[in-house]
Subunit: 591 residues, 2 copies
Amino acid sequence: MRIFRIAMAQMNATVGDLEGNVRAIVKWIKEAKKAKADLIAFPELAVTGYPPEDLLLMPRFLELNRRALDEVVSHCRAIAAVVGYVGQGASSESKLKEPITVPAARYEVHNAAAVIADQRLVTSYYKRYLPNYGVFDESRYFCPGRGIPVIVLNGTTVGVNICEDIWLPEGPHRAQAAAGAEVIVNINASPFHLAKGRFREQMLATRARDNGVIVTYTNMVGGQDELVFDGNSLILDQAGEVLVRGKAFEEDLLVVDLDVAAVGRSRIPHARKRWLGQAKTRTERIVVSGAYTPRRGAPILPGGARVLEPLEEVYSALVLGVRDYVRKNRFRRVLIGLSGGVDSSLTAAIAVDALGGKNVLGVLMPSPHTSRESREDATELARRLRIETRTIPITRIFKAYLQSLSEVFQGRRPDATEENIQARIRGNLMMALSNKFGYLVLTTGNKSEMSVGYATLYGDMAGGFAVIKDVPKTMVYELARLRNRGGAAAVIPKRVLDKAPSAELKPDQRDEDSLPPYPLLDPILQAHVEEDRSLDEIVRMGFDRETVSKVITMVDRSEYKRRQAPIGIKITHRAFGKDRRMPITNQYRNV
Amino acid sequence: MRIFRIAMAQMNATVGDLEGNVRAIVKWIKEAKKAKADLIAFPELAVTGYPPEDLLLMPRFLELNRRALDEVVSHCRAIAAVVGYVGQGASSESKLKEPITVPAARYEVHNAAAVIADQRLVTSYYKRYLPNYGVFDESRYFCPGRGIPVIVLNGTTVGVNICEDIWLPEGPHRAQAAAGAEVIVNINASPFHLAKGRFREQMLATRARDNGVIVTYTNMVGGQDELVFDGNSLILDQAGEVLVRGKAFEEDLLVVDLDVAAVGRSRIPHARKRWLGQAKTRTERIVVSGAYTPRRGAPILPGGARVLEPLEEVYSALVLGVRDYVRKNRFRRVLIGLSGGVDSSLTAAIAVDALGGKNVLGVLMPSPHTSRESREDATELARRLRIETRTIPITRIFKAYLQSLSEVFQGRRPDATEENIQARIRGNLMMALSNKFGYLVLTTGNKSEMSVGYATLYGDMAGGFAVIKDVPKTMVYELARLRNRGGAAAVIPKRVLDKAPSAELKPDQRDEDSLPPYPLLDPILQAHVEEDRSLDEIVRMGFDRETVSKVITMVDRSEYKRRQAPIGIKITHRAFGKDRRMPITNQYRNV
């Protein structure tokens, strides 16, 4: 039994924090050395954090990234490492002859995986397939690589590649397998969205089986602005069976013994053998001679982490997203406006799970339209979550606005204007508390509201981070129920889940006065916003034409609001923000 | 003398308005037919407007775009046309063998130029070089084309290509010229920034001369969200001399007789001939037989439009940007908060030039910190611009906030919080007027403020369109002086230009209490924000290290504000918004 001992560091890197990231990388390398690993793999762009966006256009940043890698290299004695960083300069194979996207950077910049052994940078693999869709902008920064190295390390043949590369059947793993690779080391910064984990695992199993190789998938973990990387690193054997799973939404170090001798004995059907044989792309074989000989103990084959249910995954993503946004932006405490509704209740529960109750302050800002029940529910929620509250009624301020505007508004009837004034008074109060005490304001709007514009710009939309911005209202209820089941006792009062949603900005207001009921609204929104379906298609799904037309129009007309909304955590296939880039000036009416 | 009569339609398309764009295209075709043109060229993506952004991911939108093109084709009797639209499907030459960016769309989508003759779509040229830097995201949507058609039309050989294609010396024009093209029809949606026109003209002159061809450059005109297309279409002869210029910042139809016989006689140096001869890329020769024979009158060689000075260009871009944002988003009137400062004065002047004085309402919102001079200056400006004003003092509302917050703020000293509350009261009042009367709020912050975060989120930053967001403060003064020279009498009172800038949010406040003087600040900002220079580099330019370090830190820490700012007009090499994509969570400190 020939064994290759691999360590995978599922790391929470921070964008721009080169020193902090290197410190973390070095710490993991030391642990992996103690565990006698042959090689340790780190996520894509572990040195810079992902995505560094336009930092990549700054020559000084690229230089410091390279120096940070040198620091990592100096710590790789008696262990090999694969580390994501930003590579620069063309190898002889990366000269491009065909017309492709021209990057803005003055230098040829690559999304690179450093292969390090014996305190030496052996080679750099440059990512070949650059995602430039959804939240990704990699063609803005990087040139695609051309070289396909295959590394022979302590007798085991290893193919290194990066993230998107392995999503294509004809990716570099094929040429690497054809050239004899037994283990594919694929490093990733793959952000979470609902159901992605399952696709990812199916795809990796297929790649392993198709190519008859062990696939190791090392993912980033942690929150970065709109994105949450979910970890869930994987190792699959040559038959596509999962050997081990990394933790979900937590840092983790996996050390596993791979039976590479078995790879050579794997039976690949003839047709697939021919397909592999046709992967004629020239690979570059690099032998790392035995400059170190790690001693081995007993085989290591940990059981690995539990697979979360989809709703648990979403909740975990929201908690980690909040924790990391707050921590990485050097805040400690947050403010949440508590209305007694389900959105602010869920947001508060998530914040408490992310930061602890003592770092969350609830703010009640009642008006004459606020019901007794809402005040009671907000107070009860705070009591159960053990968070402090402040109460600042808005009536006096609202009256001052109406008086000051009475002359200009003379002869005009009350309308949405007066509702928005109230919401904006609350926004101003929240920001005043934020300015005075240095707390971050978390907003509480859900995806259904953000979609149709049922929210007040600078009012309830005012704040630094929009926790459940990508969570449809119907899922808000599901998550609230999940959270109530999770703890010893339900934290969100039952009445919050049972009563009809209302903005409480005028007497007897109900969301359903302005919007279709959420169980009807949400699937229409999903079809339009996430799936680009046309009016006719949505009607054919079984919805009333007038309703669909009204919903689409509301979505399309609210783009200006969303453009000024705070960022929030992506949990669906398509979130607002970088993920969906619509013009504001847009006369296309798909109705 | 063999003559090719070309028409160039410098058109103001609207994103998403397929019907409106087709109506405009058909109108221009009719005019060009009257003028007996052989061919009329329209801008890049004239059918959809540019950039359509994620509309391009909607199958229904692509289908309607194709139908819109069919409508255009049906009008091209007895004239040929080159029309920008979205092409779909691979030609045999556009199958890609090399790894390139994988687009998100399910279909192979192209930025295309339809070549139409005799009511027939003769061929489509697919753009080969897709810009994916700065404000451009073309790799998100399009596959690069591979085919290079050369069209023989009424005896003249024409090479069609699109925008970025011609910015590369080895672009398709080279192969087209080598294959005998006499005229290059290059169609564009090229957004304005300062000094771009000069680079563009130099580049086009070089391409014409290098390849010994006539180059016709048809540009879009008009505002689209952050972008203003400046028109300034050009025709250059085979010696690189400008034959004719389109208007700046206005629609225009140019009809010009090109002496194509002279192209064949042009003397190309031997070295360049060899270089051209090496352009071996296979071109596809398409002969459009003489299905129509336009009769010709006397040769047409108009003198063309005047070249504007750089500052005039900026002013014109701002006026057109405001006019089109307002018009294309179906507003009629705008609101501007008038403080008596230079920013709001300039913004008001631009708005009046864009929309007429009767469509601009000035709002004065004085506080106890507002000086008598500021009130006088704001009133005098409004008088000279002939715009109506409303005055809504904020003192009463401010007192109500302080009272309501007194308990929570007990024991805390006044700080920036109280300044921000005032700014946010003004934001709320402006939005209340906007909601009640349906006017668009224009914000008045300049680029220097936006850079260092010297502005209140939801306060003075509250509004739909930020007119001078990309104009540094020192240039605000230059533009104000330019405007004062332009009219019969100075519209911006002299005292506005002379007094020290102040936010007037506390007693005796001056911008210079918090910021370096603007003539010092602006070049540092330019170096950091627009040129990606490091601290050391900027210090070497002759600035004090501590000042530079402070400025860089202010810029980097204000990203969260800019992310929620209204969009505004790009006029520099690098604007905020789509042009500069920085992470909010970012621990890189280049200081």
